[in-house]
């Protein structure tokens, strides 16, 4: 009878890491993409930072030379997918429903349904969000974070993890920096204070040179990966 007053019954150790499940699937994706010979890029950034536009520019420039595919992650609509499709590349829409990020499971399902054998580049546009996507490895080769000057020059220090874990940071829409009272160089310094190794690009769709640099960065990273295989 006194037994019922004891707070504990017996303890079962589980040790199950919820994120590990995602990482395991991400490794599977990495393996699948490697077999197909695809260089994959996970593009993350807030809503309106210019993810879709920069991917479009890259598709326009690289789509003629290489076989390009794109996964467009959106909570519900298929507007981004339609924009990629218009450019004549293989487009795979990924509606996440209520989720604020893509995860390895979603990407795995898409890879199983879409044969990417022979493709050179896969752009994966994540859901517009600077927080949640950082917890979920997709199996990509490269993680890119895009912010625009219009998000304010404190946006970087407010979201340290994504800058700490990305391979490339892009500060976009620099043509309107003055209008929104932001100094892009401050943003560059903030990125470097979190991650001294990360390359930072300043871009604007209206400044052709900066778009060319963006495209060259993607192309070089892809070629380097192919050389190393």
């Amino acid at each position: 009878m006194w037994n019922t007053f004891l707070a504990t019954g017996h303890i079962i150790n589980i040790g199950h890491d919820i994120f590990k499940e995602n990482r395991k699937l991400a490794d599977k994706n990495r393996e699948m993409l490697k077999k197909s010979g695809v260089f994959s890029v996970n593009i993350m950034g807030a809503i309106g930072s210019g993810k879709t536009t920069l991917i479009e520019e890259a598709i326009k420039a690289l789509g003629g030379k290489y076989k390009v595919a794109a996964i467009a992650g959106d909570v519900i609509a298929d507007m981004d997918a339609a924009r990629f499709e218009k450019l004549g590349v293989k487009t795979i829409p990924a509606n996440t429903g209520k989720e604020c990020h893509l995860d390895a499971h979603i990407v795995n399902e898409l890879l199983k349904k879409n044969d990417l054998n022979g493709y050179d580049i896969l752009f994966i546009e994540n859901v517009g969000n600077l927080i949640c996507p950082t917890d979920f490895d997709l199996g990509e080769d490269v993680k890119i974070v895009i912010v625009s000057v219009s998000e304010g020059d404190d946006i970087i220090l407010k979201h340290p993890v994504i800058f700490k874990t990305s391979d490339l940071a892009v500060i976009n829409k620099i043509d309107i920096a003055e209008a929104v009272s932001v100094d892009p160089e401050t943003m560059v310094r903030d990125v470097r204070s979190l991650n001294e190794k990360i390359p930072v690009l300043l871009t604007s769709k209206k400044q052709e040179e900066t778009v060319k640099k963006w495209i060259k960065t993607i192309e070089d990273a892809m070629l380097e990966k192919k050389r190393n295989e």
């Binding site: 504990t8 303890i11 079962i12 589980i14 890491d17 919820i18 949640c132 917890d135 340290p160 993890v161």
Partner: protein, 122 residues
């Protein structure tokens, strides 16, 4: 935030293990949260309680513990960062993740877990 979907996976793991062990009730659920994740324990607990409603875990209490990060520095250091106060926010915390040997900014190689550590059952 994505606490809800994580809580669904977590509760599934708890209930599966409880069932395998013929549990009548789950008293305590111990969870370990990597400090570099964006998981907020208070939100996670809220989600877990709502998902656990109507199951044998509905009266469970929760214990959350942080897993400290592991860092790696270009100087060769790999291991734990220096101890920092528990109440630092994410930014202060990450900025304080410098190499204890040379003071440089480091690469995070651990502290990104979300673990159902153990359950206490009847």
């Amino acid at each position: 935030m994505h606490e809800y979907s994580l809580a669904v996976d977590l509760m599934e793991s708890v209930l599966t293990t409880a069932k395998e062990n013929n549990a009548k009730a789950v008293n305590l659920i111990s969870v370990k949260v990597g400090r570099i994740t964006h998981v907020n324990p208070a939100q996670l607990e809220f989600c877990l309680k709502s998902i656990g409603d109507g199951t044998i875990a509905e009266n469970a209490s929760y214990s959350f513990e942080y897993i400290e990060p592991e860092i790696r520095c270009v100087c060769g250091y790999a291991g734990k960062p220096n101890e920092t106060a528990d109440d630092l926010d994410m930014l202060e915390y990450l900025v304080s993740l410098v190499c204890p040997l040379c003071g440089r900014n480091t690469e995070v190689i651990g502290g990104t877990e979300l673990v159902v550590d153990s359950i206490d059952i009847d």
